[in-house]
């Protein structure tokens, strides 16, 4: 990757958006690398876990008759928003899925906006988004089989002539979900890398912040929302909302 960037004249100008190898590990006779993606994932996971522990302590200590503090208020607002989002799409099944959807929303959101804090966004690595897509695929079909038993499979052959298209359509779901997230975050990362390479050093301190607001904050929030929304639509399509 590095030599290719030099050949394309991108590394000389300082443009930098590739995944970096940080450390080499030999595992079962194979050479694997610790990359910037792993660092980003670790930071995001640690932030989420620490936040969860702090909030849990605060909520357990607070009494119903007290006025809630700053943090508890913000968390209550966020949870209410997430609950309403799940309830608006999934209806009666919302209780079963809100934990999963909220978790994936917070994870993807933090991953997307981690570009603001100098990390390379983990979701700009296809390995991460494809894993998320495959998990969603498994959840869709587990719940479909649980709800409809054999009807889940026979519905694929409802118009017999269209069955190949139906089957391909099922396998296109995780691909399009993961490629959408990856493409959006990656395009933001590439644009920011090119702009940082283009501008001379004294200007890069203030000017790109406007673009960070669009490419990291706005686009990241929209894509986290869209990923959760589409997962919910696909799941409730299989299990029915009545």
């Amino acid at each position: 990757m590095q030599t290719d960037l030099v050949r394309l004249g991108l590394l000389d100008s300082g443009a930098d958006f590739s995944i970096k190898y940080l450390h080499e590990v030999n595992l079962f006779g194979q050479t694997v690398y610790l990359t910037t993606t792993h660092v980003g994932l670790l930071v995001v996971t640690l932030v989420l876990v620490i936040l969860a522990i702090i909030v849990n302590k605060k909520i357990a200590k607070s009494k119903p008759e007290d006025t809630p503090g700053m943090l508890v208020n913000v968390i209550e607002m966020a949870i209410e928003m997430l609950d309403n989002m799940v309830k608006g799409t999934m209806g009666i099944n919302a209780r079963r899925f809100r934990n999963w959807i909220s978790t994936i929303f917070m994870f993807v959101l933090l991953c997307n906006i981690s570009g603001l804090f100098g990390l390379r966004p983990p979701t700009a690595d296809y390995g991460i988004t494809f894993a998320l897509g495959v998990i969603t695929f498994c959840i869709i079909h587990y719940n479909g089989i649980k709800a409809n038993r054999t009807g889940h499979f026979t519905s694929l052959f409802k118009p017999v002539l269209l069955s190949p298209i139906n089957i391909i359509g099922e396998f296109a779901v995780p691909l399009s979900l993961s490629l959408r997230l990856f493409g959006n975050v990656m395009s933001g990362t590439v644009m920011m890398g090119l702009i940082y390479g283009l501008l001379p050093p004294p200007i890069t301190t203030g000017i790109p912040s406007v673009l960070h607001v669009y490419f990291d904050l706005f686009s990241g929030c929209i894509q986290a929302y869209v990923f959760c929304m589409l997962s919910m639509v696909y799941i409730s399509d299989k299990i029915g909302t009545e």
């Binding site: 990757m1 290719d4 050949r7 394309l8 590739s18 608006g88 399009s176 490629l179 959408r180 990856f182 493409g183 959006n184 990656m186 395009s187 590439v190 929209i222 894509q223 929302y225 869209v226 929304m229 589409l230 639509v233």
Partner: protein
């Protein structure tokens, strides 16, 4: 100019051509946003529903453009034609 350099140059041209795929989603998202604005103008009470539906539709419409982007990235950095 060696054959290898020619392949790199043509890969860059192909990546640029692949990004023409951005044209379609741009038009599609603009149409969706325009109709959503009209819907909010007609019924301002349904603003949040209209907005979420519009965002979902735009995200789906964006997929084809992102396929073009993926092809461009693959042509530039993965180099399938070596």
């Amino acid at each position: 100019m060696s054959g290898q350099d020619f392949i790199y140059g043509m890969s860059a041209v192909g990546a640029g051509l692949a990004m023409i795929a951005g044209l379609g989603p741009g038009i599609g998202q603009g149409i969706a946003a325009g109709h959503a604005a009209a819907a909010v103008g007609r019924n301002p009470g349904a603003k949040s529903d209209v907005t979420s539906t519009m965002l979902l539709g735009q995200a789906v419409a964006e997929t084809t453009g992102l396929y073009g982007f993926a092809v461009a990235i693959i042509l530039m950095f993965v180099k399938p034609f070596n």
